[in-house]
Amino acid sequence: MSAVLTRWGLSTTPPPEPPPAEPNYLNHNYSIWSWLFTTDHKRIGILYLISITLFFVGGGIAAGVVRLNLLAPNGAIVTEDVYNRAFTAHGVLMLFFFLIPAVPAVFGNFFIPMMIGAKDLAFPKLNLASWYVFMLGAACAAWSVLVGGIDTGWTLYPPYSTRASQASVVPGVLGAFIAGFSSIMTGLNIMVTIHKMRAPGLTWNRLPLFVWALYATSLIQLLATPVLGITLVLLMVERMWGVGIFDPSIGGDPVLFQHLFWFYSHPAVYIMILPGMGVISEVITCFSRKNIFGYAAVAWSSVGIAVVGFLLWAHHMFVAGISFYAAILFSFLSMLVAVPSAIKVFNWTATLYRGSITFQAPMIFALGFIFLFIIGGLTGLYLATLGTDIHLHDTYFVVAHFHFVMVGGMVMAYFAALHYWWPKMFGRMYSDWWSRLAAMIIIVGFFLTFIPQFIMGYHGMPRRYPNYPANLQILNVMSTAGGSILGLGYLMPAIYLTLSLINGPKASSNPWSATGLEWQTPSPPSIHNFEETPIVVCGPYEYAIGVDQMGRPLPEGPGEGGPIDPASHAGHPYPAGPVPKETEVVG
């Protein structure tokens, strides 16, 4: 590495370790009010982290009920009515209250300003408001669960949801509606911040790919969520007053609801996956010590996914009675969106090629993401093909498909992000061994849970049915067993991450020797992130030349000669030296 540096004529001394911030954003005030009324994007990120963790547990419990019940062909533990409510609660909680806010509201909130060298998001009060709105939405959802839950499935199709269902549909729908506003607020805030608050020298082509990904995500949040909003309003009006525009008895068209719903909910799957893709670009480059392969392709494919993602909603409705020509068109367009997704996967793979790869937990999660996302994406193509979808629609094959992309993809990326940025957020290292074990258990558990679902779906097991023919029991038992392993895997981070807060070794400011600006602040960061606005001189992933975005040499990375435990060089006494300010690296 030093040879490369000499060739570039740079100083080989990494920047001095910034002194631990006193006070930092965590310890400057401990009162509860300082949290509830904070406008600090970092604290709001933590508020979101705590809340979505709760909803993840809630959604997980509902999933547990569903899986346990499927152990027996006629339902093992609950009545059919409860079963319906359990899978609906699972879907609504996991989608609207966990997966959609997961990366944007937690890591986007926390790290977008830091990655672009800003002191905060553009609208700090709006940011806090978004959390309150989110919690209000969650309170409505909780209210709906407490008065019995919804039994419509997360897709809420009328006329069942408007007329037939005996459950408390309105509070749950209201919850999703309100949570949508918080999603819009976060998206708007992030988008304006990226446009207007970048540090000097941070051109669009030097933005970390995580920022690009969140930009694309915010675009979808901004333009798709309001359509869901109005659709849910129409649904509530119809349900409450018995008059509405989806009511077939007065000439309304329930399929119109499906169009409007999927006009949001298909792009929403990209709200869920794009931030994860951004995380993967950060992690893969850092842990293979290479620049990203095809920066522009990866960056623009995010935008491509966001745009094309708006044009395929009706692939969820192939058997809902849409016209044959529309079906062909939407089938074709669905195939099209696989192209930018594949571009990303190919570029990540090329980035890995001949990299100096080390396998810390974030990297294991990221590799898991790539692997599982490929399977999820390819099975998406089966579903996008008209002929096969008629067989596979509304079967467990679809369930397995979207769990591969959403859980195998996004939840994996969420954990990658959590492990990657944890030392920065809390200034502590977690157990390397346990975290790697957990990552592997999660991947194995995931496979065991969802591979059988592809098979049973292919054999015709419909989704959302509590009963199934006895010959499918073995696959269902396998899936539930895998689910238990997966649950165990998810429990482990909860334990060792919490423990790390209590007695984890202190993390250095840049434990992974990463290039991004967020690592140029102390861990945990000070209140305003940067004492002075950083000046960016190069692209985001100059691992090969070994400089960060401010053009300063990187500290020794994990696995580079030293022991692999990144905690071990926390507080490493790097020789302090002046940093050449005018270092202009590559354009």
Binding site: A118, K119, D120, L121, A122, F123, P124, L126, I184, L188, N189, M191, V192, T193, H195, K196, M197, L222, L223, A224, T225, P226, V227, G229, I230, T231, V233, L234, V237, W241, G242, V243, G244, I245, S249, I250, G251, G252, D253, L256, L260, F263, H528, T533
Partner: protein, 279 residues
Amino acid sequence: MAASTHTSVLKHHFDRLDQQHASERLGMWMFLATEVLFFSGLFGAYTVYRLYYPTEFEFASSKLNRVIATINTLFLITSSMTITFGIRSAKLGDRSGLIRYLVLTLLLGTAFMVLKAFEYTADYEERYMPGTLFRSEYNAAFEAIFPTDPQQKPLSREEAKLYFEKDAQSEHPKHQHWAAELVLLNYRKSTADPDYIDPGKVQLFLSFYYIMTGIHGIHILAGLGCLIWLIIEAARDAIPPENYSTVEVVSLYWHLVDGIWLFLMPLLYLAGAGWVATY
């Protein structure tokens, strides 16, 4: 721009004032994009049904109050102008001018809502609302012409016309004029007749009418709230010229709400302006 002179205006996380203004403006534009998409769901649905059921929509629209709607349109357009004058005053540091224009805008917006409230009341009194009210009125008019009781003879078309005319002139008419017209229009038409005006689909239009104007009204109320806040801020001299973008941002929102009305007006009120009942 020297930051020191604007310390009270420049927020801590911005470096420069122009950056702050640009962010505020961009944020509002993005919010407007969200709003457009929000309404576009409604407009899209409206378009679909209008294409499905053109006659019912025309009939239903013809019974709305076009006079109030026209006056309201004038109010809103004028208010868009006054708020723009307000921006200019704010920019020039003319505080009394700013307050004057903001109050004018507020008054025009309030006048809109007051008229709208009268209109809703009248609609309610005519029972021109989807759901049970509509159905019972229609059924009553239908029953008067085609009694369910087999002992009574149904009225002929001419008798029915006379009956409804007399009823309309009586002191306490038993039937709403729209229900009477609907019954006459559909006199002895089968539901498969292309000219048959399906009362269900009329209600569909009315659902759109109430939901669209209702949501628009909520937006107006939010705008009025912002205006009141601006007036208070201006009154306590908290809008210096270098911070005029606050007024500008609210005006952007106000223009959007105004602009949406300019679509609602033709779609809801003018769709049936050419309706002539022929029995």
